[in-house]
Amino acid sequence: MATKTQTVGANAKFTNLSNEEILRYSRHLIMPEVGMDGQLKLKNAKVLLIGTGGLGAPLGLYLAAAGVGKLGLVDFDVVDSTNLQRQVTFGAQDVGTPKTLAAKNRLSSLNSDIEIETYETKLESGNALELFKDYDFIVDGTDNFPTRYLVNDACILLGKQNVYGSIFRFEGQATVFGAPDGPCYRCLYPEPPPPGLVPSCAEGGVLGVLPGIIGSIQAMETIKLIIGRGDSLAGRLLLFDALGMKFRELKLRKNPDCPVCGKNPTITKLIDYYEFCGVRGEEAPASDVQVPEITPRELKSRLDRGDDLFILDVREPHEYQICNLNGHLIPLGDLTRRAHELDTSKEIVAHCRSGKRSAEAVDFLRKAGFRKILNLKGGILAWSDEVDPSVPKY
């Protein structure tokens, strides 16, 4: 691998394996493609995992098992029970524990010979270069556009390769960015989508095995880069469709005019990635519409005193099956077509899971002439918290 920072073992700290390590890694050692040389490269390698969630789980497990000498784990999140469906490093006993700590415990129990450094912090423009500089390879397993662009730019500025994976529902993408003469994330996507235009993972859901597959591909690519074997995904975008069980491959080209890795870069230091992506704060899309609201408690007391309110549920039918408030179901996407089912003279309270989709529905219906319409603040989640805990949260 061309640039100096990407050469593993240039200043090799470890020059031999113990007898216990030889036994542990024997299935690597008997393969000529890895052998003693490759295993020592793994032992001397330092890999930084951005995110210890869905993609980070198989990444951490396989890289620790393979004997990567130093793993850095960056995450600021705490394990919650909705993580366990796919984040297989964690067990039920870890709920409430910081993810970096829970992951470190699990990976140390798998392989106590390796060094694991945890960074319980949010990756930001102010700390990225400092965090990245001591690592050979960066593996991007994060979940939002600002961090994706930040990881990309920091890797390009430092001349490090970025093993990229991302997922959405049952579809995944993987590639390697920042290889010598290879394309970067900005060559592929010069700009992020505006907030709200592409649904987030939290809204869209994800099939639990999918991050296992894409994260495992990232782990494989990382190991290949470390041992310097095979053809990496650099210059190729691997697309995986789990429902169709199809892998496809597209060509990725380096954009000579790329603002960060092109011939005349205009981005020469890290920028404000939230501003770049049009978001202020983690989950607060700037496009959120302001509409009249009603709190769950207000709604409850008005229903209790017999007010004639029409409850409109704008979630999807499969969500209605999980829990509902006996509302009339018209999914947001069908509202344009089915608005005629609603009576403009009646007072309507629209709700969804968290209040975001129903705000869009209220905004749309107000523009369509509905005057007496309110959005249930915080959605069915807030209803469960404030009025009726027997309604399950999802």
């Binding site: 994060t142 991302s166 869209g204 991050p211």
Partner: protein
């Protein structure tokens, strides 16, 4: 045999949940135009208000990015696969 347009997961909700659609077309632009005529809601996700393809949506003919071919004028022939590949970011949470 017409051109097959592959609709990615995040955009299927705007295309009657279809994963692909086929249209007779001579260029990428024509195929996408037919797609967004059939599924009107897709248009704002693929094009800006002034009719340009959005920069976070890439379009490929078979395995080649149309930005490095003839952009929307890239000719297509029967049996070609036009893929819409938007950026997705999920993975950690």
């Amino acid at each position: 045999m017409p051109v097959k347009v592959i609709i990615p997961t995040p955009l299927r909700v705007f295309a009657a949940k279809r994963d692909s659609a086929e249209f007779p077309a001579a260029s990428v632009g024509e195929a996408l135009n037919k797609l967004t005529t059939e599924f009107g809601e897709l248009r704002k996700h693929l094009y800006t208000d002034d009719g340009k393809l959005r920069s976070f949506v890439n379009v490929y003919v078979n395995d080649e990015d149309i930005r490095y071919l003839g952009k929307e004028e890239t000719p297509v022939k029967d049996g070609d696969i036009v893929s819409i590949v938007p950026s997705i970011a999920g993975g950690r949470s």
